[in-house]
């Protein structure tokens, strides 16, 4: 979407450096200007749920820090030197070279430089992620493509029950570690062996297992479709695409049944798992129901201004489980046009014939302008980013940041996925409302 953008909700393709950092002991090597890494880390990391440097992020990311000299004379030499020395200085298992605008405009032959290292048996891959080429979500897919093409090797055997899980975009989603862990837990409870490459304690060991999987499970409205297709092409691994981030009993139950059926699992066991979780979930809901039902100022209508993961997942939960009504939902992760129709379909498919209007825009300015023109009868609930704080004050709404940028929250391992995640979301939303009375 090539229009002006006010109030960003994603960054440029080079922001995929954070996806590399999400793989334990993998390190990005930037062939970019001196300030690119810092800004993108600030946007997706430090000021997005306080996800700071970690092991080798922030200011420790190797970078050629391109100057006028490389722009004029080319940066191949500088890149070669930087990779060579990064291999000497940095203690990591995989080096992912990422280019920025300067290098992509000038036309450095990065592939050629990286191949020299690959030929020498060094764990180096590359992706051309010049900022003008797209978003960090697009960049995230490029990084995975690079790893699939240049790093992963076909496996002779398939491990039955092994499932690779692909879902939210690390760092872009501040709750990614918690969310992936929850998906992993649910999938393992129904009797499969989940394999997730992002997050603590996984790293290359998990990555190397990817070609061995029985199938790939993509839990995402659209991000990653390209990658599971590539995995199918290269390794013959089939995939299941589940488009909704499952939050709450209705959607999580549906999710577990779909996965179980696809994997050919015994439905009795799946129903047992669902039943156990629902009992626990409703134990808490039963206790809080007095307040949830009787506090007169609770919001009835909600708006999401978020990534497609959350607009869809949260809408499903709030409508199908919590009984709220939707206003317009704004999808801000620059969904490519070929996926928009399918996502829109999902918003017509709630219980009791309820549907919600959807707007695809990555321009926060437009989203806020539209919201300001809506006439609300009560206080709306706005699930968006920190950008919505001022807006919410102006229109007297309740605001909770769930989507980038989350500069107003510290996020550690909180998850909004599954049964547990739904309880967290209920806690967060209704605590906000209760605090407002105090």
């Amino acid at each position: 979407m090539s229009q002006l953008v006010e109030q960003i909700r994603h960054v440029c393709a080079l922001g995929a450096l954070q996806s590399v950092l999400a793989i334990e002991r993998a390190v990005p090597v930037l062939h970019a200007g001196p300030g690119c890494g810092q800004k993108l880390w600030g946007a997706l990391g430090l000021d997005n749920g306080c996800q700071g440097s970690g092991y080798v992020g922030g200011h420790s990311v190797p970078s050629t820090n391109i100057t006028e000299k490389e722009v004029i004379f080319g940066g191949d030499k500088k890149l070669r030197e930087t990779i060579e020395n990064a291999l000497k200085v940095i203690d990591a298992d995989l080096f992912v070279v990422l280019t920025g605008c300067t290098s992509d405009i000038v036309g450095d032959d990065v592939g050629e430089v990286v191949r020299e290292f690959q030929d020498a048996g060094k764990p180096v891959v590359y992706a051309e992620t010049g900022g003008f080429k797209g978003t960090n979500i697009y960049g995230h897919e490029l990084v995975l493509e690079a790893i699939i093409d240049q790093y992963l090797k076909p496996s002779e055997e398939i491990e039955p029950g092994l499932v690779n899980i692909w879902s939210v975009v690390p760092f872009q989603d501040a709750f990614w570690t918690g969310n992936l862990k929850e998906l992993e837990k649910l999938v393992s409870e129904i009797g499969l062996k989940p394999n997730v490459i992002f997050g603590p304690g996984r790293g290359l060991q998990a990555l190397n297992k990817v070609p061995k999987a029985q199938f790939n499970l993509l839990v995402s409205p659209w991000v990653g479709v390209k990658n599971v297709q590539s995995l199918e092409e290269k390794f013959g691994t089939p995939y299941l695409h589940y488009p909704v981030l499952p939050i709450g009993p209705t959607e999580t139950g549906k999710f577990l049944r779909t996965v179980g059926e696809y994997a050919g699992l015994d439905s009795k066991r799946i129903e047992e798992v669902i039943n156990r979780h629902e009992n626990e979930y409703f134990y808490y809901i039963e206790r809080s129901a007095d307040v949830l039902l009787e506090t007169r100022l609770l919001p009835r209508r909600f708006i999401t201004v978020a990534d497609s993961f959350y607009t869809l997942g949260v809408s499903k939960f709030l409508i199908n489980d919590m009984g709220l009504l939707p206003e317009t939902q704004f999808i801000t992760d620059d969904v490519s046009p070929e996926h928009q129709e399918k996502i829109e379909e999902e918003f017509k498919n709630f219980i009791d014939g309820i549907s919600s209007e959807v707007v695809f825009t990555n321009d926060g300015g437009l989203a806020q302008e539209t919201i300001r023109n809506i006439k609300f009868r009560g206080r709306p609930l706005i699930l968006g980013s920190a950008w919505e704080r001022v807006l919410a004050e102006d229109i007297n709404g309740y605001q909770l940041s769930i989507s980038m940028p989350l500069s107003d929250r510290l996020v550690l391992n909180r998850s909004y996925v599954g049964y547990e995640g739904a309880l967290r979301l209920v806690e967060d939303i209704y605590s906000l409302v209760l605090q407002d009375f105090q």
């Binding site: 960003i8 420790s60 940095i90 797209g134």
Partner: protein
């Protein structure tokens, strides 16, 4: 100087022979700087640091009633949402009505890189003017439009004719300079070329002005000074500066951060321009001296006992207030001494390494020495002639002190820390976590809500340093449980192994 007539200000490597890569003894650094042979250093391995666009944004985003347009792909300036939490409290603490930060990205994509980005910039400027009716529109230009050759000056001067807001083009393409402090010149250059710096209302035949009015005006002007504020000093520091200058009978106006675009018309109604950081303001104060004959002081930063004193005396000398200043200094120092006693006993002999902005690290090192600490290393983001005198003072008695000139470069920092093993690290934001991974407690070199400047700042820094040293449990357990991302044999090498001559 003549640079003001150019569209783009020269980079500091050229204008000031500034250097961003050095490792060695203090005496070599200063000698090298004075002999002009520090330039052209480089690195054969480097880590991501910052670019001049980031520093430019830290200045311009504070300006109220302005819309900033980031001309580039969407990642440039993307972390600016963190400025919102700096901008809004900054506004309200200065008495303004806090509004949300306004900025727009031209979101350049592949077709714009091929076809040029000027039409999108034009659209953005017109839209910003129509939708927000700002006093100023600040156009910040990034690498991509710089390489493809968008002519933002031609465009903005053409548009200015039909736009009510003042348009300020700022050239701060990241790849253009290794010295990100060039940003300060780039912003001041834009301000000086685009904003009105004088009040043009008193035309002949206008308001009747009698002799008494004129005398009054001259008197007020003689007692008014401009202080050029910086991003790293918050309102608490400004209040300390104001307190000290008011004690000398002076009225203080702060520019450029948080100053309304229209306020700049009163800029020349002052007897003196005062810098709080020599490497921040030299370009601008020189323009103001050349154009309007306003003198300036630019030697020092009011951090630490001695430097605050020198800074105050510099100002007093220009305004014939020396005896007042001396009385004030004596009184302040006497009060401070009593309060410092407790902290001196805690901090005595503590070994400290300081890392961050060129001048700030040197004056902070001196402050820590005044508290009884031993400075065992200094790291500066860059180095130029403005450092020479201050560094000479800071390392007097220890010309062999190890100095590293590096913009961030965590691998050099960690290597130094491993060897030097200080008791306390005082670092720029983004670096303190790396010291903590080695178990070393860290005091941030700056933090806007807190006080570092003036006599009050000395007390506050002493108090905070003592508190940080008192319980290092976090750093200890942290260092026992995390690993650093560098290979073991890196620590066996000199931290300056990858600094090259060319």
């Amino acid at each position: 100087m003549g640079y003001i007539d150019e569209k783009v200000v020269p980079k500091r490597e050229e204008r000031l022979k500034a250097c961003n890569a050095f490792g060695g003894k203090a005496c070599q650094l200063i000698e090298g700087s004075r002999g002009g042979c520090l330039v052209n250093k480089n690195r054969s391995f480097s880590q991501t640091c910052n670019c001049q666009m980031g520093l430019a944004l830290a200045m311009v985003l504070t300006i109220p009633e302005a819309v900033t347009i980031m001309h580039g792909p969407i990642g440039c300036g993307s972390s600016s949402h963190n400025m919102d939490s700096y901008f809004r409290p900054g506004q309200s603490i200065r008495g303004g009505k806090p509004k949300a930060l306004l900025w727009v990205s031209t979101n350049l994509e592949e077709q714009d890189i091929i076809g040029g980005g000027e039409s999108k910039l034009e659209e953005a400027i017109i839209k910003a003017d129509q939708n927000h009716r700002p006093a100023a529109i600040i156009v910040v230009s990034s690498c991509a439009p710089g390489i493809i050759g968008d002519d933002i000056d031609e465009l903005t001067s053409r548009l200015q004719k039909r736009i009510s807001a003042r348009i300020i083009p700022i050239h701060c393409e990241g790849f253009k300079t290794k010295i990100s402090a060039t940003a300060y010149d780039a912003v001041y250059h834009g301000i000086a070329r685009s904003l009105e710096l004088e009040l043009k209302s008193e035309a002949p035949g206008g308001l009747v002005s009698n002799g008494l009015d004129q005398v009054k005006k001259e008197y007020i002007k003689s007692k008014t000074v401009n202080v050029l504020n910086v991003f790293s000093m918050g309102r608490t520091d400004e209040l300390e500066i104001e307190r000290l200058l008011k004690a000398l009978g002076l009225e203080v106006n702060f520019y450029p951060n948080f100053a309304h675009p229209d306020k700049f018309r009163f800029l020349i109604e002052a007897a003196l321009n005062i810098s709080v950081c020599p490497t921040h303001d030299d370009y601008f104060v020189e323009i103001l001296k050349e154009r309007y004959g306003i003198p300036y002081v630019l030697n020092n930063m009011p951090i630490g006992i001695r430097n605050t004193e020198d800074w105050l005396l510099d100002i007093a000398k220009e305004l014939n207030l020396e005896s007042e200043a001396k009385t004030l200094i004596e009184k302040e120092k006497k009060e401070l001494e009593v309060e410092l006693e407790l902290y001196r006993s805690i901090l005595k002999g503590k070994r400290v390494l300081v890392s961050g902005g060129e001048i700030r690290v040197a004056v902070t090192a001196m402050l820590l020495q005044e508290l009884g600490c031993e400075v065992v290393g200094i790291r500066a983001y860059h180095y130029d002639q403005f450092g020479d005198d201050i560094y000479l003072k800071a390392v007097s008695g220890n010309p062999d002190l190890e100095i590293n000139v590096a913009t961030t470069q965590v691998f050099e920092l960690v290597n130094m820390l491993k060897k030097v093993k200080p008791d306390l690290f005082v670092g720029h934001s983004g670096s303190n976590v790396w010291a903590a991974k080695l178990g070393i407690p860290a005091l941030p070199l700056f933090s806007q809500p807190q006080n570092y400047v003036g006599y009050r700042g000395v007390f506050e820094v002493a108090k905070r340093a003592a508190r940080i040293i008192k319980n290092t449990a976090f750093q200890r357990t942290f260092s026992e449980n995390v690993t650093l991302p560098f290979k073991e044999d890196w620590y066996g090498k000199s931290p300056f192994t990858y600094i090259t001559e060319k």
